[in-house]
Amino acid sequence: MVGGAAVSVGIPTLDCFLDGNGKAYADTGARLPIRFGTYFWGLGLTDTPAGSRWVPKTKGRDFDITPELISLIPVKDKISVCSGFRVIGDGRPNAVHWSGHASILSGIAPLRAGQMDGPSFDTSIADAIGVGTRFKSIEVSANGKPVSYSTRTGRSFATPEPTPFALYQRLFGQGFQDPNSPTWQPDPSIMLNQSVLSGVTEQRRALFAQVGKSDQVKLDQYFTSLREMENQLAIQLQRPAKAEACSIPSALKDLPMKSASVDVINANSKAMARLLAMAMACNQTKVFNFVHTPGQSETYIAGDSKIYHQYTHDEPTDATLGYQINTSKLAGLVMQALGDFLIEMNAIKEGAGTLLDNMVVMAFSDTGYAKIHSIENIPMIIAGGAGGKHKGGQHIAGNGDPVTRVSLTAQQLAGAPVGEFGSGAMKTARPITEIMA
């Protein structure tokens, strides 16, 4: 009893409780938790009329690694490369650098740029699996701009952590409790803080009485956030389950690293991937949304006067090589960050495998061939073992199927109770069964 309230005591996860394969709890058969994340990068990958710099020639297993996917070689067996999937607009305009990922995430071709016509699907996964951890989901933006595409309302987007320092503070700063601490005690001030929120809840009914629908959406979001805060406090009052792989990162300093050059963004991205991996190993969150570069990416090679976005549009296709040289070079550098990200996830041992084996990461972009703002053949990659449910190491050719098939697959692999996804011509009940165990 602390301050008059009962405190429940969690059971630590120790290896001795796991079954012989290290995949599940021995007594209940419950599996290690699945973690889910989206990973976004801007400006797609390079297609040219003459051929693609990223789509593998062979399908299924043992696909060939193309030039822009070279950084993914170390995790090749744990990824499925999905090509040939497209956005079907049902007559809606192609809002450049927006329609692609808005459709992938919400399942609906958006009416206009900057908003989605439904919630992003990561929120339903967070609702399904993001319970029991301090954060329901964590948003990260590695490019210095506060960009996130995670939304419950289609209008308000999540506020991401924009620097490694900010991410460290959020995850391991005030409020973090070491799951492996031998001297854990519940913090009595948390219970007092809980009462601050109780004053608000009581007024809910009055405020809801007569507002219009769009205001109700805003207030709903507010109360969702309030409830999540209550939940966070409740979890902090419970003894955290032991986490073998959890080792608290040393404190970071706030560096004035304000640059959008690709080397800086990639360095930030890697540092933030490491923090995020440790946050999952320490049971702080099970869901994340990671933005490497935004849709109309302004990253560039240090010292070069042209940004990536300009190159994609302006750069001529090299007559000899058959593709845009600088554009493809930047695409390769941007993919290096995804490779590094997955390697960080794969570096953490968990049970008999790695953290990545118990994850589903859906990585995707806003366009296919950025030069023409194509929303066909948008590169999409599903990574992680999904606790054995994902049969990786494959190349899947979508043949013009809607992007929502990949989104649905990711949701089902992550364990969200979803049977169909999308609307209009993008409505689908067909996940990519070839990659599902």
Binding site: K145, L197, Y300
Partner: protein
């Protein structure tokens, strides 16, 4: 919309006005949303996300903690509890009423006070500390949606049967957020208590008082920060190799420089708004001087400075703010700058380029000036339709590089800054400034922006007559910004509310109903619909 999240600057100003300037606020606020040219319009769509709520919660605890801090509590808590270890509802009530009124922009209801008295007494009982209970009660006000959102409410308009108007408290807030970017003060709230604010003479006297207040600069700064799109500074990056002089200090100073210029011109000197495009007068500091290539001799932090004619500076378009914000990380961008001149100052947005645009003609060039490259826009009819308006103002600004340094050459070639729009020839930044000064769309756009900013929605055809009248009054007053604010803040059009769908025409409540409402402390809430 009737529910709008308070902005970061509003939050900071309300806390300052409620608790005094000593309150420390360390937090990262959620990004705001720009729509139809203004964040105040986009923000009307925003709510509070999970991470945003975490920040507000942390702030609430921090502010309340500072208010009851043993060393400082005498300043914040005007009564002393009978016993520091037990509850004292009377004292708690005094504190809650005082701060609650300012935070919620209206007196608290009895239910709102009662729930906080309970929080305070429960906590005090648990830890035997009066101030700990008080801290939690204050914190609870600071996470309340009534504080974090601007909730505007309508009531039937007695002067126009069947129509709605903002109620007195909502009206006071709308004026106060426009003029001060903060909550109403006691005098303004007092004018709302009995509905006095609906009396024209009282409204005018209140507005005149507020215009004369130093807090007017908070309001004017917030408006121009929104209109000039300064939020892009938060994530602006420049390539260090290309622009070694650029730094965070330069960016922060530039922002301050433009706001100082505007406040001096429009508030202190009360000059013609259109002078912002032609003035040579500004303020500089030690960080800005090297970028402007002038020596800094003052011992003060900021000094007045008048650019000589050959510096080619002409008003705020030639300050580092505009020139660096609307450029690339390592190069200027005539198209970006031109688009922003039209969008920000003339309310003429440029449509997105078509998704399938053929860029093959717009090839990269390592030689010559950017003008050569942009010629391709003229040759393609599909491009020309927009670029013939967007490129010329930007080309006239080409003597300033991506952070606003004066230059005459690009890749070794002389830069040509002559331009033409619809048959009008002009040259360089000074020519552009002069042209904008005489463009009648410029004052029209300012009037539209001030109005839309205040009401938090886009203007529609229904507002056109109102805007025409206000624009004429603005011109008649010699384009004085302060007069524009006075006219808008005292016009009935600024407080009009339309009937929400499904509610039908307004019915005046009977005296009995009004009395019941008062007795039960349930305030009627009527959503204000967007008039599109």
């Amino acid at each position: 919309m009737s529910v709008r999240r308070v902005t970061e600057s509003q939050y900071r100003n309300i806390i300052r006005d409620t608790f005094g300037p000593g309150m420390q606020l360390n937090a990262r606020f959620e990004p705001e949303l720009r729509e139809a040219g203004l964040q105040s319009i986009g923000n009307a769509q925003l709510s509070i996300t999970t991470s945003g709520f975490e920040q507000y919660f942390a702030l609430a605890k921090s502010v309340a903690g500072q208010a009851v801090d043993e060393k400082k509590r005498a300043e914040f808590v005007s009564c002393t509890p009978a016993d520091q270890k037990t509850k004292d509802d009377a004292c708690t009530r005094i504190v809650l009423e005082r701060y609650g009124k300012s935070l919620f922009r209206r007196p608290l209801t009895e239910a709102e006070i009662a729930s906080r008295l309970k929080i305070a007494s429960d906590a005090t009982a648990r830890v035997a500390n009066y101030y700990e209970g008080l801290r939690l009660a204050i914190a609870s006000l600071l996470v309340d949606p009534e504080f974090l959102f601007r909730v505007e409410e309508a009531e039937p308009d007695p002067a126009n049967p069947g129509q709605y108007r903002l109620d007195a408290y909502s009206k006071a807030s709308r004026i106060s957020f426009l003029l001060w970017d903060s909550a109403p003060d006691d005098a303004l709230l007092q004018a709302a208590v009995n509905g006095d604010i609906h009396v024209n003479a009282i409204l005018k006297a209140q507005v005149a008082r507020m215009i004369a207040s130093p807090k007017l600069k908070d309001g004017a700064k917030a408006f121009f920060t929104d209109m000039l799109q300064f939020e892009y500074f938060d994530s602006l990056t420049k390539d260090g190799a290309t622009y070694p002089k650029y730094s965070q200090k330069v960016a922060d100073s530039a922002r301050e420089q433009t706001l100082r210029t505007l406040m001096d011109l429009l508030i202190e000197q009360n000059r013609d708004y259109r002078d912002i495009f032609t003035t040579n007068e500004t303020f500089i500091n030690r960080a800005l001087a090297p970028v402007y290539k002038v020596p800094y001799l003052s011992r003060q932090e900021w000094a007045r400075y008048t650019f000589p004619d050959d510096a080619e500076r002409s008003g705020i378009l030639t300050q580092i703010t505009f020139l660096s914000l609307f450029s690339h990380p390592a190069a200027s961008s005539p198209t970006k700058r031109g688009i922003k001149v039209n969008e920000i100052f003339k309310c003429q947005p440029t449509p997105e380029p078509p998704a399938d645009v053929d860029f093959s003609k717009v090839q990269a060039l390592d030689k010559g000036t950017v003008r050569t490259r942009l010629l391709a826009h003229k040759e393609n009819a599909g491009c020309a339709v927009c670029h013939r308006n967007s490129d010329p103002p930007g080309l006239a600004l080409e003597h300033f590089d991506g952070i606003g340094q004066l230059r005459k050459l690009e890749n070794g070639q002389l830069i040509d800054v002559s331009a033409e729009i619809n048959g009008t020839q002009f040259s360089g930044a000074q020519g552009l400034g002069e042209m904008l000064r005489n463009d009648k769309k410029v004052p029209e756009c300012l009037v539209r922006n001030v109005f839309a900013y205040g009401i938090g929605r886009t203007t529609s055809y229904k507002d056109e007559d109102y805007l025409i009248d206000e624009t004429k009054a603005f011109a008649d007053n010699g384009y004085r910004f302060k007069d524009l604010l006075i006219n808008i803040a005292t016009s009935p059009g600024f407080f009009k509310a339309t009937s929400p769908v499904g509610l039908g025409p307004a019915k005046l409540p009977t005296t009995a109903q009004a009395a019941t409402q008062h007795a039960t402390e349930v305030r009627p809430r009527i959503a204000l619909e967007k008039t599109k």
